[in-house]
Assembly symmetry: C2
Homo-oligomer: 451 residues x 2
């Protein structure tokens, strides 16, 4: 059969018109969001271009990285090098000194769309929010939601923001010490304690307070009249133990550092309900670089003092940081928090099991015991998953444990910095996977060689 020319043209015309409709549809109806993009497109394209730089899975390019020909270059993870981070650096030690919480990086890579935030050039230029504060009410609301969901703290409290928990630690010491006349308040913590407590308190050398060391230093009866400020870290950094206040009496005020009181690192037996509780985004979402923390405070006078501290120090937390923190907390809240905390807990538990196994037959080296704890968030008894190993060299001849490890290609943090003996070293388990695997290899080699 010979088709008439008109019918042949129909065979092209009809699909052509259909394609017209298909292509025009989104312009008018279907993808409003997409089509409306105008001024934001450039920033979005820049971010995607940088994200697409290939660094072999062992590095990353960043928007504000050093550029070559206008494009940010790869920044390689430790022990990787070369222009695209594909080269393994031979003999590179496992650096597990820092508490950099990069174990959560893959979680955020997997949630690119929901976790990105675009900040307009005119975003929050003012010193203050509309209520004249320097605190985003939306962010505060979301912080309360996260605590309510995780059941790790009561939140009928005042909230102050800080540039990481770091800033809030000193703000709290400052606020509590202002009550006092001379002599200055004694700042104490139980060994082993987070080194910043001492470093920071010494550095700011105020008239109002002075670092005294271990809580036992103040058990002397003559000290009872002296006001004390006790840091209580729970779970403790470095050893992951849940802790309570040690000192008693009316002259003792406590600052509860709950940086690690999240289901990644510990079971949550009960909501914390203390006078001053400090948390940080760093150990919740892994965004250490974002410098965002918050304090839940019972007493209004202490709250006001900490707010004044924040104002006098830097007029509150950067509004860019606050809008990003809000975005991240919205992702945390997705799926009732199961996604983030399951990822975090599984990762940390797996690492602890592997490290425990590597050391299980060693007579020379050990790590802390951690008892399983009931977790009201996961509704069950949980295996240990601490942020750090508190590593011990058992033999007298290995008492400089830091050096023993360093010689074995492992850079930890000296136990003496925590007020403990030199036979202890803190090893971070919250590193990138690459770094953890290197640590494990070096530990296995050490145990194979030394026993």
């Amino acid at each position: 059969m010979v088709m008439p020319e008109s019918s042949k043209k129909d065979m092209i015309l009809i699909p052509s018109l259909a394609l017209n409709l298909l292509l025009l549809y989104p312009l008018f109806v279907g993808c409003k969001k997409w089509e409306l993009l105008s001024w934001s497109r450039r920033a979005a394209a820049e971010a995607e271009a940088v994200a697409s730089v290939s660094c072999s899975g062992h590095g990353r390019a960043y928007l504000d990285g050093i550029t070559v020909d206008g494009m940010p270059v790869c920044e390689c993870n430790s022990c990787f090098g070369g222009p695209n981070c594909s080269e393994v650096i031979a003999g590179c030690p496992a650096d597990v000194n820092s508490g950099d919480p990069l174990f959560l990086e893959p979680f955020w890579m997997q949630r690119a769309a929901s976790s990105a935030v675009l900040i307009a050039g005119w975003h929050r230029m003012s010193y203050s929010f509309n209520d004249n504060s320097s605190i985003s009410q939306e962010l505060e609301k979301h912080i309360r939601k996260v605590h309510a969901m995780v059941k790790n703290a009561v939140t009928d409290r005042f909230i102050v923001f800080g540039a990481g928990s770091t800033q809030l630690l000193n703000a709290a010491v400052h606020a509590l010490s202002m009550d006092n006349s001379s002599p200055p308040s004694a700042v104490v913590a139980s060994v082993p304690f987070y080194p910043s407590y001492k470093q920071q308190t010494d550095f700011f050398s105020s008239l109002g307070y002075k670092f005294y060391g271990d809580t036992s230093m103040r058990k002397n009866p003559s000290d009872v009249l002296m006001n004390a400020i006790e840091f209580v870290t729970s779970p403790n950094n470095p050893d992951g133990k849940l802790r309570k206040k040690v000192l008693k009496g009316e002259s003792v005020r406590a600052i509860h550092d709950h940086a690690y009181y999240w289901p990644h690192f510990t079971g949550i037996p009960t909501p914390a309900d203390e006078d001053i509780m400090i948390f940080t985004l760093s150990k919740l979402t892994g965004h250490a670089g974002t410098r965002f923390g918050w304090a839940l405070i019972k007493d209004e006078a202490v709250y006001r003092r900490m707010l004044t501290y924040s104002d006098e120090s830097c007029y509150g937390v950067s509004r860019d940081t606050q809008v990003r923190a809000l975005k991240l907390l919205k992702v945390v809240l997705e799926g009732e928090g199961r996604e983030l905390f399951t990822f975090g807990y599984k990762t940390m538990k797996d690492r602890w099991e592997k490290l425990s196994q590597a050391l299980s037959f060693s007579k020379l080296f050990s790590i802390q015991d951690i008892a399983p704890v009931y977790c009201s968030f996961f509704q069950g008894i949980r295996d240990p998953s601490p942020a750090f190993a508190w590593f011990k060299c058992e033999r007298e001849e290995d008492k400089d444990c830091y050096t023993v490890l360093r010689d074995a290609g492992i850079i930890g943090r000296k136990g003496t910095l925590f007020g403990a003996e030199s036979c202890y070293v803190r090893l971070s388990l919250i590193t990138r996977q690459d770094d953890f695997e290197l640590l494990l290899r070096q530990i296995n080699k050490l145990v194979a060689e030394k026993g």
Copy 2:
């Protein structure tokens, strides 16, 4: 003429095919950047949706604003209200107390595409940049470029970042005072001075320093042995005068606060070349909420101490803030800086002229004289364009000038806070246009009523 059916179809087919080509072209060739957008699209669409909320030009919605039905609501400028900020609040005073630099907001609205930044969920999670510092090398490089372009400071110096200049002021005092044994260093400034110098120094009540007040307090010969730290603010806040260090001698160290040393506010006769020079994004780009400042420091030991201060206080400036500051400085550098500084200078000069004119025939009220200054950036003599008016009530019966102004519907900042007499009040001229216009109306009314 009757066309054959085939020719009729051609009249549809050919345009249809052409339209298909047109619509398909960008998918394959033309708009690679656009088409590649994937994970970033959601954040971009969210930002544009918020930006498109209409607040009648007297308010703005923000990504982290309070939401109703999931959408952030309008936050109205002062003296405007209603759901879309269209209602003028009757009897609302002109609030020109704060130094909020919102006069630059329209500049950034006009540069939406070039000034937006999209931050990925995994952006800079680490405590440190790849060089183990907490300072973006790219940002540091761009700060040097801006100074070189404006010719307002020599930059062969060390740079420390801070959460606004606020944090750097105390960091500098702390760093300079650490040289001393007892007695503590005397912190001084020449009246009228920026109130934060006193407030902050008093608040942090360190062992190392103490606020002494006006520089003249230390002109007593018996004080010469005491170490002094002199704040030199140039141009001065509140009066806009270019200032030099007052105190002489080896025991005096100066901190030069150059927050306002930009072509918006003053001619730039010569690049500043001092031991410690402090700048802030707030008064350069108007982003007060971003909390970003920097110090240029000659002496390496002082630099190291200020870095340690930053670390002990908060582990450096939020990485989100740094990436945004970088983006903003890139816009500042566009067109050799002419765009931003012409906008800033014109706005401020216009406001100063209008205010001067309003007060030109008044016998009761005056503002400071400002001499025209040569500006090496604009290459010519410039008219005055200060950030603040240093308003004086001339009559004895008006010596509580703050109250006189308040009764006239103007909220200024009391002169006594600057160490000056109560006949002075600081009025901010760097507010939003709405606020400046209200101020001008109230001033005109005051002069018309009182003379």
